[in-house]
Symmetry: C2
Subunit: 344 residues, 2 copies
């Protein structure tokens, strides 16, 4: 399957994820109810690290849990095992093969804290290391750039959160995610057109905030690995603490800005950036917000904020794919990269 096939397959992959992880999540939730945790430690790299950022907002906002994104090299380079105390230790890796991620989960297992692997390979070393294993069930991902393993990782995290809440509305909302992804895919023709217009772009800023910070990070990574664009992702707040100096006339600013608690401040920032000549592309479900960009892409309406990053990444993936082609690069063969990265 090609990268585009895998992007388009995401509604089906999401259906498979929903069909596959119910039991393991129920078991983990029972464990967390019996012995609550004070902290979640997540080890992940690359695209999976962006799923970890989503988990930080999800578990922080809904469950008031502090989430520490582990520095895996503390274990792998310095040989030091954190004291996990009352933590849930999570490893996220599509291949489940990266020794540094496995090392963190193994350390949790030895301390007898609950451990969770989120992986597309239930036969991987990461899955073997963890007490609980969520099989992404995304199907084989052959393209080097991860797409469906990202959206299914987010869906698994959202489902864990909803199961912890045990609220019928939230559980029902999960079931509507595949259809929302399907609707998001419908923007492909307009995205292809915009990508063609922007083919000369070789650097840009990508902004998101709150739940959509993960989307900004993942979008920027796709732009780097596929389209070879120096894409610099920021939360809107961090951006104002320095990198805003990069904005000069003509600099492309890609903004993930669905309507919500984070949108007002981001729209205000985009207005100031446009005054300074930035070339803003806005992804939003709101026509009024889309008007804050010179170009815009519409997102499907009526997706709850906590599930929206699973949907907003889809037009971003399509944009990265079409920009890659518009730049006469091969999306199936990102430079210098292999599918499985084994860092230590």
């Amino acid at each position: 399957m090609s990268l585009r096939d895998e992007i388009l397959e995401q509604p089906a992959a999401a259906e498979r994820q929903l069909a596959s992880s119910r039991e393991v999540i129920a078991a983990l939730v029972a464990r967390l109810r019996a012995r609550p945790v004070d902290l979640v430690v997540i080890a992940a790299r690359g695209t999976s690290d962006h799923a970890a950022i989503y988990a930080q907002y999800m578990l922080g906002t809904v469950h008031r849990l502090p989430v520490a994104l582990a520095a895996p090299s503390i274990v792998s380079l310095y040989g030091v095992v954190p004291r996990f105390a009352r933590a849930l230790v999570v490893g996220i890796s599509q291949s489940g093969a990266s020794p540094d991620i496995v090392g963190v989960v193994e350390a949790g297992r030895r301390q007898d804290v609950p451990t969770l692997a989120i992986t597309n390979d239930p036969a991987s070393p990461l899955a073997a290391a963890a007490e609980y294993v969520i099989d992404l069930a995304a199907g084989p991902e052959q393209a080097v750039a991860a797409t469906k393993t990202y959206s299914t990782s987010l869906l698994a995290i959202a489902r864990l959160s909803a199961a912890l809440l045990d609220e019928p509305d939230s559980l029902a909302a999960l079931e509507r995610v595949p259809a929302a992804i399907e609707r998001a895919l419908a923007v492909e023709p307009e995205v292809e057109q915009i990508a063609a217009e922007m083919a000369a772009v070789d650097r840009c800023v990508v902004l998101g905030r709150g739940y959509e910070y993960a989307t900004a990070r993942e979008w920027a990574l796709k732009l780097k690995e596929l389209a070879r664009v120096f894409a610099d992702p920021y939360s809107a707040a961090d951006f104002e603490h320095g990198p805003v100096a990069l904005v000069e006339p003509g600099v492309p600013v890609l903004a993930v800005v669905p309507e919500g608690v984070a949108s007002a401040g981001l729209v205000e920032l985009l207005g100031r950036l446009r005054e300074r000549g930035a070339d803003v592309l806005a992804l939003s479900d709101s026509a009024a917000i889309r008007a804050s960009g010179r170009r815009s892409v519409s997102l499907p309406p009526d997706v709850p904020e906590w599930l929206r990053p699973i949907v907003t990444i889809v037009p971003a993936q399509l944009f990265a794919y079409h920009l890659t082609r518009a730049r006469a690069l091969d999306p199936e063969a990102p430079r210098n990269l292999a599918k499985v990265t084994r860092t230590r």
Copy 2:
């Protein structure tokens, strides 16, 4: 004082920091010994966020403490207060004025967990919110780009770690930091020459790993805010999970690579990047490692790994300053920026 004056003032600022924070650190250490914490939550943005990354390695490696870098917007945007349980909550901000950072520390205070402010303004809202206050005592920082407040923040964190350990060798090593910074400043002529040669650079990759990941992040931020370079910082491991696709002939790769547990893997990576045509600038205390770059800058020898980031940032700051001038930009007036950033 100009930016360069403030860079050159860092040995004196470090002396002032060492002279000022002994008592508050002793009080905090007594509190942490009486009632140990399981977790450190740090809220910070911009340059201060890089001090937080240093703290993540320092406290993780030496004290086995998980460190969560807070997403301040969970408090400020979503209005949700984390359950801090057995955490130490830290806010780092040179101005102490950013409401989102203050909000996290106030939330900790209300939960009666220990709270620490690290700030250059002991009369700031952040200092008022925290139970313990480390005054950086860096002296007024007038340049928009933070330099001496960064190195003194790192020194304060190192001192907290050393005081927790209560090991005479570590405490003595701290006293030698100002002299090591002084030696690091001696490279200015060679750094100025290299910056002049690289004046046309408008994008680059910055690599570091382990303790020096914070340096890579901070160096890249200085390059963005001062020299307007799209500088993309990565830990060497994360870099291999995607962004390595950006490397093509002529791309500048700036590497912070002092000899240590992280250096072998990074030197090997730099070798591969050079084969692909990358233009490598290596900062190292080892002549053998410096030879892995086309250009190199020497770091003072015999600085222990845990204190080295306080020293390695100095040539990086000088490089950013001289590159800014070489690019005919004004280092005293970064575009679009004010000294105090109040994000919510």
